[in-house]
């Protein structure tokens, strides 16, 4: 009997994983736009927090760049969804991103000086890596509209550049 249970458990795990994959793959353009916009907004908020807290010039320059660049992409995204007459649609991925970001902002608010700089920059490296992964494997392949896809590809180039910049900065903020 045990012999049957083990494979059954393995199969059901596979089915669950498969269902999760299918759900992820089924994101529509309105949801994809919402996720991309949310991801940008999170980085703008983190940058604003850094500008309010950090006194390190390199960290502040980086934070200004994040605020400026992500605001520019998001402005473009808003103009695009308006043009396409699409209302960005909230979804589980956007909610999970926002929830995690709110927790990070709250915990970094308690840090000061070098401790804050290190935490902010380390998180920027990790965050850009995560978003790059999502853009490459999920959001860009899933986007149906050509203009949305193209804007996401610009976003990927931007996030990749920011990741490199954050990695260089992480090496100098010690």
């Amino acid at each position: 009997m045990l012999k049957f249970i083990a494979p059954a458990a393995a199969i059901s795990a596979l089915i669950v994983a498969g269902a999760a994959y299918a759900q992820a793959a089924k994101l529509n353009d309105a949801q994809i736009a919402h996720i991309a916009y949310t991801a940008g907004n999170i980085d703008v908020a983190a940058g604003k927090q850094a500008l309010a807290k950090s006194k390190d010039k390199a960290v502040r320059d980086f934070a200004s760049e994040m605020v400026r660049d992500h605001t520019a992409v998001n402005d473009q995204a808003l103009a695009l969804v308006k043009k396409l007459n699409v209302t960005p649609q909230d979804n589980a991925t956007s909610q999970a991103l926002s929830k995690e970001a709110a927790a990070k902002l709250a915990s970094y608010a308690k840090l000061e000086g070098k401790a804050f700089d290190k935490a902010y920059v380390a998180n920027e490296v990790a965050y850009h890596k995560t978003v790059n992964g999502a853009l490459k494997t999920q959001l860009i392949p899933g986007a149906q509209n050509a203009e949305l896809k193209s804007l996401l590809q610009t976003g990927l180039k931007l996030f990749t550049d920011h990741q490199t910049h954050a990695e260089h900065l992480a090496a100098s903020v010690k």
Partner: protein, 109 residues
Amino acid sequence: MSPIPWRVGLIAGAALVAASACSPAAPKTYQVTLHDLMFGPTPPEAHVGDTLEWANNDLFLHSATASDGSFDVELKPGAHVAQPLTKAGTFDFICKYHPGMKGRLVVSP
């Protein structure tokens, strides 16, 4: 029309052609486009006296910043900025905001 002014006109025209053939090449303006976090190609045969026009067709603030400090041009989104080429040499440049963006400019005397 009398034949004399016609002949004078012809000589004057020939003199103009000769003058332009003898003078050095007229200064040129070359455009380098920035798009999607990349610098487009730089001109292959730029000379001192020519002008480079940086055209930022991107959504983002960029710069064209020479590694040796020779120039540092701020390029707002949509901006076209003319840069007279006053110095010969090979200049490696980056965008100081997006250091992944790189280019090389060669200016002959």
